[in-house]
Symmetry: C2
Amino acid sequence: MNYTNDANQLREFIRLLERKFGILEKSEVSCCGVTFSQCHAIVEIGRAKNISLNELAETLGLDNSTMSRTVNNLVTNGMAEREIDPADRRYVTIKLTESGHKIFEGIETAMNLYFKRVYNNIPDDKKEQVIESLYILLEAIGRNECCK
Amino acid sequence: MNYTNDANQLREFIRLLERKFGILEKSEVSCCGVTFSQCHAIVEIGRAKNISLNELAETLGLDNSTMSRTVNNLVTNGMAEREIDPADRRYVTIKLTESGHKIFEGIETAMNLYFKRVYNNIPDDKKEQVIESLYILLEAIGRNECCK
DNA sequence: TAAAATACTTGCATTTTGCAACTATTTTGT
DNA sequence: ACAAAATAGTTGCAAAATGCAAGTATTTTA
């Protein structure tokens, strides 16, 4: 087995995956009336129920300043609200408003439907293998990061 | 087997993958002295040897105008050159300069090394399965797109 | 209790992006 | 053959996304 070539194959497939999901994301955003970065933020806030700016920025891999502005847009557009954490007044707790939550649910529904479809397109006898493989891949990536 | 939950698992893993590669891309860009979009363009031009603006934009999923500007930046910085196709003067043939090619090779080397490492982190008896699974996944995604 | 650390925000500059309108060239339909 | 349609690319514009540096406010630490 030629390791280098298989590693290239890995790169190539991941490249294609990235491209597919780039396209998916674009269509996703356009259908929900929110911008790209707003969409990401809404999903993460919605998942966490409430989250600090710091954590949110960390999760999305963005600078705090960028994150702060995106949250600001959400707040301005009535999709999220900020609240100072009484336990530690440096922290801001961010959560979705009702309106924001509806958008969140819309995105979730669409995404879940999409992935359900993709999943069902995988042959039955390969479904488990694909899921397992993604997990293995994530592990392999993680192991790479920790010791570079 | 609960299909919906496994589909969610699929979504979750892909979400994590996307995040990992977002980070990878950021570090990649910062080390090569080119911007994000320039990096993408360089890689695609380098792979194709020469390519039309149209094709390049199509490949990267960008508007022609955006692509034109990015190419413009590359040309201005001496990394690429434009040439009108004599066979059909509407087309512009884009190729890397020597300087651009060096950057391309730098990116390729780094990326190949990265993926080789990741690949080698996959247990031997799972390597083949992971590659196959990615292919299956891509197929499943493709089958989804054609009929929505 | 002063200094350091932390969470967040704002000023600024840059990058990335797409739409619409434009030019230049080639293809098509009559 | 030639006017109309299609195609490839560019540019004006406006908006979104981003990070760094410098700021405020609060809490922790020494």
